[in-house]
């Protein structure tokens, strides 16, 4: 359980530098948008500190203050983070030597880049030590939480969010994430069906049902058009920052 500031920990810290820098704009953007969407800075910080998952935090603030029921918001957050289940299953055997307390912490920190770096280190034949793992995750986590506060502070200074287009940054952000998945199997049919179904539901049944209806339509389609034969596959980290 005890962390040591040893060579492993320092190697982890070095490995974390590009991730911290890459995630910084998004940590700040999250804080600014959270305030813009009606959260206070404390809530923004709480969200970064407890969810610690960029895309799903953005989904959360997009749906707060709308007619969407709380349990649907929680379900949407769960759905966007669902892929972590695959990371977790893949990482488990590689950190079998961690104590239970160490695993409890390690899985909390299992974000996309943490998974990618862990897989990479394992590929290169190194043992994943707790010190190395925390050497990566402590700087990323600390920066991410601090950026929520800092972004929130700057967000409050913006007087006319509409003129700055701040209210429309979330759809653009989500669109880029959707585009980032485009090399996955059956991406286009899934996105097309989810898009059409959500728009149809939006104009007929109305918000918030367009989210569940659109999502279920796309996921069902993916299951329908997948073949039955098992496909051995390695889990790859999503091209997302935190």
């Amino acid at each position: 359980m005890f962390l040591k500031f040893d060579a492993e920990f320092r190697q982890g810290m070095r490995d974390s530098v590009p991730i911290v820098l890459g995630a910084a704009p998004f940590g700040l953007l999250f804080g600014a948008l959270a305030v813009e969407y009606g959260m206070d800075i404390g809530q923004a910080v709480l969200m970064s500190a407890t969810l610690y998952a960029g895309a799903s935090q953005m989904v959360g603030i997009d749906l707060f203050g709308t007619s969407v029921a709380p349990w649907i918001i929680v379900l949407s957050i769960f759905a966007v983070n669902f892929r972590h289940i695959l990371y977790s299953a893949s990482l488990g055997p590689k950190i079998a030597h961690f104590t239970v307390a160490q695993k409890t912490i390690a899985f909390f920190a299992l974000i996309d880049p943490q998974f990618a770096e862990s897989e990479r280190r394992h590929e290169r034949g190194y043992r994943i030590s707790f010190n190395w793992y925390m050497g990566i995750s402590i700087p990323i986590y600390t920066a991410w939480v601090a950026e929520a506060a800092l972004g929130g502070y700057f967000g409050r200074l913006i007087k006319d969010p509409y003129a700055f287009g701040l209210d429309f940054m979330l759809p653009v952000y989500f669109l880029v994430l959707v585009m980032g998945f485009r090399r996955r199997r059956n991406w286009l049919p899934v996105v097309a069906v989810s898009g059409v179904a959500s728009v149809a539901a939006y104009f007929t049944i109305g918000s918030p049902w367009h989210i569940s209806i659109g999502a279920v339509a796309g996921v069902l389609l993916a299951a329908l058009i997948a073949g039955d034969d098992p496909l051995p596959e390695a889990v790859e980290a999503d091209p997302e920052h935190v």
Partner: protein
Amino acid sequence: MFGLSDITWIIIFGALATYATRIGGHLVLSRFERIPRRVSAALDAVPAAVLTTLVAPAAVSNGPAEAITLALAAAAALRFNLIVVLLIGAAAIISLRAAGLG
């Protein structure tokens, strides 16, 4: 309840749900020898499907400024990374709205 706002409760449950995904694969999924292909394909499709439902209505229920911005962003996403596309999107929405298309 306990004087906490709805948003705070959603954050707490959202955090628990997120932690469940991060430890769940280790606790549950690793007990299966292999995942059926249809299940794996469905799981693979979840994030793109959910996120699409947050974009598509925004593309068609706002003005031309918003629709054009999303079209530009989709094209830019083929080439550039997230932060660059966000900057392009911000430039597009600011200028299109300033031009009165909002």
